[in-house]
Amino acid sequence: MPGQIRAWRRRSVRRALWRLAVYTILIVLSAAFSIPFLWSLSASLKNLDQVFRPDVWIPRPVKWSNYRHVFDNIPFHLFFVNSLIVTSACLVGQLCSAALVAFSFARLRWFGRDFLFIVMLSTMMLPPAVTLIPHFVLFNYLGWIDTFKPLIVPAYFGGGVFNIFLLRQFFKTIPVDLEDAARIDGCSSFRVFLQIMVPLAKPALATIAVLSFIAQWNNFMHPLIYLNSYRKFTVAVGISMFKDAYSIFPHYMMAASVMALVPVLVIFFVAQRYLVRGIVLTGMKA
């Protein structure tokens, strides 16, 4: 009996030590991961003297005016509006066209469907660099350079292979009985799509909306290539130009980047649930 107790005690000590080790590692690593955020936030509120003192964490005085200075120096509000226009227009296009295509691949039977589905999946392997220059040539030919069109219009043609795939998987889980009942009542495919599939797929559509909002907001290479005039820049491009011009004023630089991060962070905290689900679904594909 005492032997048993001793063994039990030893085991619980070992378990407590294991717990302690897990927590220590997690706390140290999460500190390391969040330092860039916290430190840039702190730097964005410092004055010019303190911003060159990395050991100062709490800015004194707290210079909220740094944020205003960003607007004095660059048309950051314009970048914001531009990003919002491009992002939301892309979002609409991606959702509509991905849903239509996914419905076709999931629920309609047509010649060559399965073959084209494989073709579609294999295009995910193609590096965007391969089509980059032809796209530039095409949009240049159409006179779309320095407009938002090259950033928006492609979203309406397919809406991203990954999004189509995600929605197709979701549509496949919706019971066929619902669709059959509607068809017996004389519903066309389009009504089945609009009145049965889309309402039921709202969670999946929300997931895609969140993922593509973030992807579009962070998109850098395309606006960099297609937009030339300053006033048309999106936030991502604007901030990189700001970095070059204002690297001697790091506190303004940090204030600008903090502001550029805010929309994505807000979306993240509002829609965390959908985002995590999207990522998990990605993993399911494996």
């Binding site: 860039p36 840039s40 392997m125 089509t131 220059i133 397919g158 991502a236 994505v264 494996a286």
Partner: protein, 322 residues
């Protein structure tokens, strides 16, 4: 009667086909123009010399000259290839293993898992221009927080008489030797989505395996190597493929973080896509850039196929007889 029915059936089939293609048409049109058409055009351009301004009918065909120049004369091409390989060779294994480690730790039924998960995941969704700006300041050799931390550690080591262990306090992005490690550190910071995919994979490992191991008195390390790792090899495989494809195409962070966007110092951060960008949009050598793109495609394809081929050796799919 028979022919009539079959005609009706045929007509129904025809209507079904039309409907199917109609619904899929956004993607089909996009595929034909923006993917297939673009690929063919890019392949064609890779055999030409073109500055994007002269009309297309005056384009100069040069045969395989672009490819020849790339492989035989262009030192920067090899440099870019080397930089990208260096970056991928360290970034991919680090991301894949650290993300797995984090996921396993978070899977330990710890309190506050949602909090930790958010902390580790958040960087991956904000990776881009704005965070590259933040990191450029983190890496600042004199005023950055990273070297401050390294310095503090060195002071600490000194006071406890371990001064012979001296951590370097490098110039990071301003140093030819340390600029690539800086990029790798940034990429590890953005491993959140891999970690989340692992977490999903871990949750699908059947719990009874661990219970049996507990009865046999297996240690946590033992359980990790003999149960967890084999059971989630499909997830490791998936993350590996995704990370390799992503690492070979790194662009935004490098473009934003390096001075003048040229991939300095001394081209030490000139990664492949950045080189392609420079050729296309700084030097206006569209044909050459297209040739570069196709070589990149080939490289990525070879590596992906190698990983897929090797997967038969180390990926375990449950329910699959061997």
């Amino acid at each position: 009667m028979r022919t009539k029915r079959s005609r009706r059936a045929r007509r129904a089939a025809f209507r079904r086909n039309v409907e199917g293609y109609l619904f899929a048409s956004p993607w089909i049109v996009g595929f034909l123009v923006l993917t297939l058409g673009a690929m063919l055009f890019s392949l064609f351009l890779s055999f030409t010399k073109w500055d994007a301004h002269t009309p297309l009918d005056e384009i100069t065909l040069v045969g395989t000259a672009n490819y020849k120049e790339m492989f035989l004369e262009d030192e920067l091409f090899y440099k870019a290839l080397y930089n990208t390989a260096y970056y991928s060779f360290f970034s991919v294994p680090l991301r894949v293993t650290v993300a797995l480690l984090l996921a396993v730790l978070l899977n330990q039924k710890v309190r506050g898992i949602a909090f930790f998960r958010t902390i580790f995941y958040l960087p991956s969704i904000v990776v881009g221009a704005a965070t590259a700006v933040v990191w450029s300041w983190v890496f600042n050799p004199s005023y950055g927080v990273l070297n401050l931390a390294l310095h503090e550690v060195n002071v600490l080591l000194d006071t406890i008489h371990l001064g012979f262990i001296n951590l370097p306090e490098p110039a990071w992005l301003e140093s030819e030797l340390w600029s690539k490690p800086a990029l790798i550190i940034m990429s590890v910071w953005g491993l959140g989505s891999s970690m989340l995919i692992y977490l999903a994979g871990l949750q699908s490992v059947p719990g009874h395996l661990y219970e049996v191991a507990d009865l046999d008195g297996a240690s946590p390390v033992r359980k990790f190597w003999n149960i967890t790792v084999p059971m989630i090899t499909p997830t490791i495989f998936f993350n590996l493929v995704i990370s390799v494809i992503g690492a070979f195409q790194v662009f935004t962070q490098v473009y934003v973080i390096t001075p003048n966007h040229m991939g300095g110092p001394n081209n030490s951060t000139l990664v492949y896509v950045l080189y392609l960008y420079r050729k296309a949009f700084d030097e206006l050598r569209m044909g050459y850039a297209c040739a570069l793109a196709w070589v990149l495609f080939a490289v990525i394809l070879v590596f992906t196929l190698l990983i897929i081929r090797s997967s038969a050796l180390w990926v375990y799919y449950e329910g699959e007889r061997r």
